[in-house]
Structures are given as structure tokens and as C-alpha cells.
Amino acid sequence: MKKTNLITRLLAVATLATAATAGAAGPPTATVNTTGLAVTDDTVTVGQLHSATGTMAISETGSIQAEQLAIDQINAAGGVLGRQIKVIKEDGASDWPTFAEKAKKLLVSDKVGTVFGCWTSASRKAVLPVFEKENGMLYYPTFYEGLEQSKNVIYTGQEATQQILAGIDWIAKEKKAKTFYLVGSDYIWPRTSMKIARKHIENVLKGKVVGEEFYALGSTSFGSLINKIKLKKPDVIYAAVVGGSNVSFYKQLAAAGISGAKQTLLTISVTEDEVLGIGGENLTGFYSSMKYFQSLKNPNNGDFVAAFKAKYGASSVIGDVTQAGYLGPWLWKAAVEKAGSFDIDKIAAASPGIELKTAPEGYVKLHPNHHLWSKLRIGQWQKDGQAKVLYESELIEPNPFPKGYQ
């Protein structure tokens, strides 16, 4: 009974999202594919390029699963222009040159219609020249530092200003915060994000940054940092620590008596995925600013979470990037159908203005700069590892090259 109910709901979602062409035989291949992509009369081949192994596999697994789920749902509802999607999975193995090599293989040998992939900025930077030279299309799911825009990439996560500014505004207003301590892992995303955060705090909010520090990736000792925080007593700790360091950072904060009850902490790097490792009890009361939380209450998300759990197990969790990964195939399908063609140039041209009303995060719309209009939400972590959403902004325009923040 429960199962049939689920399937009906799934079908309902899929049907809603599918244009009138679904199920019917598609237009002839010669007209929808003029550039020799891997499109036949009844199939279209796409690529998936993530790290299934290596240090990033922890994070990228969710994206792989979500993209696969979206592709399955699209296929079940009749495919794209009447063609079933076939997937070639490649493993970037957390190694940036490997990403570039596999991207080239997907575009040149396999002639895939599009690629869903990458996670870190480093891997995206590595494949970008390949996508631009071979004229491929990449749907990139991670929230990232901005300062980039390409005809060949659709960014389904938030760029830095979307994620950072509204979050800091909220915490400053809500907690009457004046002093901030910035902490991040030492690579491009936290550094760029902290630069933007600092400019905003100092120039717009007229607050004060009392410390800004970066720790090497994989670093596990935060004792000295925590002592400095205790000495300087900032109103807010603003954190962008990633990977294994995250767990050490929050465990040691908890052990040093810095808990959500006593200290305000806002992070841009903790999603439900990270909470699994850190443990809800170490994060209780801290805040994350993200565009999506698993606990969001809307019908789209209810269906999405149910479908995800049905496919990957009841104990699986869904973080911000996983949801953004889920949007990729749907946005591509919408673009192909709007363009009436699989050609990359036509998809790129058709993409601006595409709306997705079925997104789990709610309504999203593609901007001419290939980023998404999206909302920013503040979630407060609970002991069970889920976030309680306390604030939701209006739709924020993506602005990957923010003036005054560089």
C-alpha cells in the first residue's frame, strides 16, 4: 500500500514536470542533433563525472545519487524529446588532472549530450578549458566562490554572495552581532568567501572582524584557535571549515565548552551530509546558511525526500549540494525541450529564463549569467542531525562578479 502510494506520487511529480512531448515518439534525430552528439532515435547519452573514490568521495556520493535519481525519474516519465537517457559514469578520483582527462574522454570519444559533474572548485577549474574547447555542457552542483561565468557551465548551486550576504545580515540583526571571528580551511573557496564576508561586515554592517584564520585541509588540532576565540569573545564565529577537519573542529569546540547555548556560530560549510560525521550533539544550536535543508516543508521536497529514501535507504540524508545535483538533469531537460534540440549552442542560448517549479528547494529560475535565482535559508541544527529552518529570504539574484567585494 505504502509503496504504490509512493509510486503514484512519483509519477505525479514526474508528469507535472514533463512537457507534452513525454511518451510520444520524439522528433527525428537529424533535426535535434546537428553536431554529432551521442543521440539516436530512442536514446541520448549523457556523462556523469564525480569522484567515486578518493578524499572527495565522501561529499560527491550524494550528488551522484541525486543526479541518477533525477535521470531515472525523467526516463520513467518518457525521457527527453522522446529519448531515454543513458549514463556513462566516470570517476574523477579526487584528482584534478584525472577530471580533465575524463572530461575530454566524455566529450571527444563518447560525444555525450551533457555532463553532470564536479564538486570542488579545483575540479571545475580543471575541466573548464576542456568544456570550452570541445564545446560541452556541464551542470555543476556545488555552492562556490563565484568569479566565474561560462557559456559551457550551468551553476545549480549558489555563488558566494547569494550564500553569504543574506546570512550575515540575518545573524547581525537577530543577534545584534558586531564582532566576527572568521575561520576556514585553506583553499580558494573559504578564502574568497571570507574576503566577501569581511568586506560586507566592515563596509556594510560597520562591524568588526576580530580574527581571520585558515587551517590546512585535513588539519585536526584546533586547540590554539579555540583559545584565541575564547580570549577574543566574538559575537559570531563564522566558519567555512571542510572535510575531515570539520569533525575535529566541532568536536573540539564542544569539548572546550563552546556550545550553541553560549556562542553564536554560523557556517557555510555544514550540510546534513557533514552532520552525519560531526554528530548532531556537537552542533546543536549552531546555524548554517544554505539554500536547501532536508527538513524544508513543501510538497516538492516531500516527494523528493521520499523518492530519495526509497531508492537509497531510509537512513540516507540529503544536503544542499545533493539537492542542487538533483536540479541538473531537470534543468537540462527543460533547456533541451525549450530549444527543441540537443545542440550545445542551442541549449546554452535557451537556458536563461528557464523556470523549475518542481525543485525541492522551491521555485528556481536560470539567470542569463547561467546561475540560479534562489533563496537563502538559515537552519539551526538539532540533536537529531536535521535543521530547523528559521529564516527564508526572497529570491536572490545571482551576482558572480560582485562589485566592491573583490
Partner: protein, 309 residues
């Protein structure tokens, strides 16, 4: 930079800062001890040392999930047993590795480097297949969480104290074992002169196996202890290995006391530098100090007085 704080605040921070140095010291010491035995005493470059630590950590994780599932009432106590089990499992696997691989390579030290590196890759992939790519953390008993709140503004983390005590206990036991027991005597004799030791009736093959497996067992304890401060993933081992070698090489490979001193020195230097600079610069400065020190003392802080084999 301190003018705006009260003396009491500064005093509290000073105490906590001392403790965070000690805490890092105990972590480094635990990492280095097993390696000091295997690399320092036996001369085997064990690139899979970090993976043995990860094995210990995974053992604790396994015990934690088993306890949660089958005997939740044992929750507060399982951790102590888990450390023992981690030691036993790592020692066992270590003995097996020595028997199947290392003992054939004692005369080819560079080949052990390659072989153990290969082993480390195999172990990493095994963890990935068994436990998945995500990093995991065991559920820790409540008594390990939180801190001793000595007074307002002065907190000493309990897990730090626990790791410190564990590190000191393991060091003490190992020292006694090495310098007061028959096995220790045989091990030191074998290291100094293998042929002669064999001639006077020491079973050097057995000594090697025991020493290697003991080293691996200690790595297991270290890994188990690290679950209180960090998470464990399939490639956590490769994060530990650099620090472990740093401690042993800086200390002077053949001397256990050297490892203790070097762990203490590195930890305090890093902790203090991190306080006054920041995370990245602190680490860079620490490594610079070590490089310069090693330029003048290539044999480490406490070079072995015994001539090589």
C-alpha cells in the same frame, strides 16, 4: 596585543594553551610510538602505519555500532574494551603482514617501502568497500564528552585528558617492556647484531614478528584514541603518516625517548606558533624549524650511539 584583557583572562588562556600543547603532544606521541618501534628499532619503513591507525579507529567504530545495536546498556563502557580490541586486531593483522610480506624483505629496505605502500593502498580500498567512502565517527560515551569546568573561563577538555593519560600509559608500558623485559632485551640484541643474537640462541624471526605486531598494535591504540578528536575515513591513514614520520625522524630514529622529546617539542612549537600566527603560518613555521634543526642534526635530536648493522 594583550592590553585589553584582564590578568585573569590571560592566565586562564595561558593554562588552556599549555593544555592544548600537551594534547597535541599526546596525539603526536601516540602516532609516533608504534612507528618508532618498527622504523626506529627494526629499520622497516612501514608506509602502511597510518592505515593500521585507521584500522584501530574503524575497530572502535565497529564496536560502537555493534554495542548500539545489540547491547545499548553497555554504551558507557564499550570504549575501554574497544581500545583493547583495536590493539588485538591490529597486532594480529600486523603479525600476518610480517609473516606474509615483511620478513621476506628485511634485507631490502627500499623494497619494504614500496611493498608497504602497496599494502596501504590495498587497506584503503578495503576500508572503502567495507565501510563506504564517507568519514565515520563512533558514538562516544557521555563521560568522554565535555570538559572539566575548573572555573569560569577555564575549561579543560575531557577527551584531551583521556588521550594524554592513554599516551603516557602506553609510553610507560612500552618503555618497561623494551628496557626491563626479556623480550625487550632480545629485541635490542637483535637490532644491534642479528647474527650474533641468532648464535646465542635468540629466535630472531620470532622477535621480528613480535616487534612488528606490537608496533602495529600500538598504532591501533593510537587510531582508537583519535576517534575522540576526529573522524575516520578510508584515507585518514595518509593524513597521519606524515606526522608520525616527522616525530620519529626528528627524535632520532633509534631512540624511544627521542620520540617523546620530539613529539613534545613539535607539539609545543606548533601550538604556540598557531596561537600567535595562524593555522597555516603556524604549521609552516614549525616545519621550517624542524628542517633547519635536521640540517644541523641529520640524525635527529637523540641520535643512536650504536653503530648500524
Amino acid at each position: 596585543m594583550f592590553s585589553q584583557y584582564t590578568t585573569e583572562e590571560l592566565y586562564n588562556i595561558f593554562l588552556m594553551q599549555c593544555f592544548s600543547g600537551l594534547s597535541l603532544f599526546s596525539v603526536l606521541l601516540l602516532m609516533g610510538l608504534g612507528l618508532a618501534l618498527i622504523f626506529g628499532q627494526m629499520g622497516v619503513i612501514n608506509m602502511a602505519h597510518g592505515e593500521f591507525m585507521a584500522l584501530g579507529a574503524y575497530t572502535v567504530y565497529f564496536c560502537s555500532s555493534m554495542t548500539e545495536q545489540y547491547a545499548p546498556s553497555l554504551g558507557p563502557y564499550y570504549f575501554v574494551f574497544a581500545i583493547g580490541i583495536a590493539f588485538a586486531i591490529c597486532a594480529l593483522v600486523g603479525a600476518l603482514v610480517e609473516f606474509l610480506m615483511i620478513r621476506h624483505l628485511y634485507h631490502r629496505p627500499l623494497d619494504t617501502l614500496l611493498a608497504t605502500w602497496g599494502l596501504s593502498l590495498i587497506m584503503q580500498q578495503t576500508y572503502r568497500s567495507l565501510f563506504g567512502a564517507r568519514e565515520v565517527t563512533p558514538t562516544l560515551p557521555d563521560w568522554l564528552m565535555g570538559s572539566f569546568n575548573i572555573k569560569e573561563g577555564l575549561d579543560i577538555p575531557i577527551n584531551g585528558v583521556f588521550v594524554l593519560c592513554l599516551a603516557l600509559a602506553v609510553t610507560l608500558v612500552l618503555m618497561v617492556f623494551m628496557y626491563k623485559s626479556k623480550f625487550g632485551l632480545r629485541l635490542r640484541a637483535t637490532v644491534q647484531n642479528r647474527k650474533m643474537s641468532g648464535a646465542v640462541g635468540i629466535n630472531t624471526g620470532k622477535v621480528d614478528r613480535l616487534a612488528f605486531s606490537l608496533g602495529c598494535g600500538i598504532a591501533g591504540i593510537a587510531g582508537a584514541a583519535f576517534t575522540t578528536i576526529g573522524s575516520t575515513g578510508p584515507d585518514s591513514g595518509s593524513r597521519y603518516i606524515v606526522d608520525a614520520f616527522l616525530v620519529v625522524v626528528f627524535g632520532g630514529a633509534a631512540n624511544l625517548l627521542g620520540s617523546v622529546a620530539s613529539a613534545f617539542g613539535i607539539a609545543q612549537a606548533q601550538s604556540i606558533l598557531e596561537f600567535f600566527l595562524d593555522g597555516t603560518k603556524g604549521k609552516v613555521a614549525t616545519l621550517l624549524v624542524i628542517v633547519i634543526a635536521l640540517m644541523f642534526r641529520p640524525q635527529g635530536l637523540f641520535p643512536s650511539k650504536v653503530r648500524g648493522h
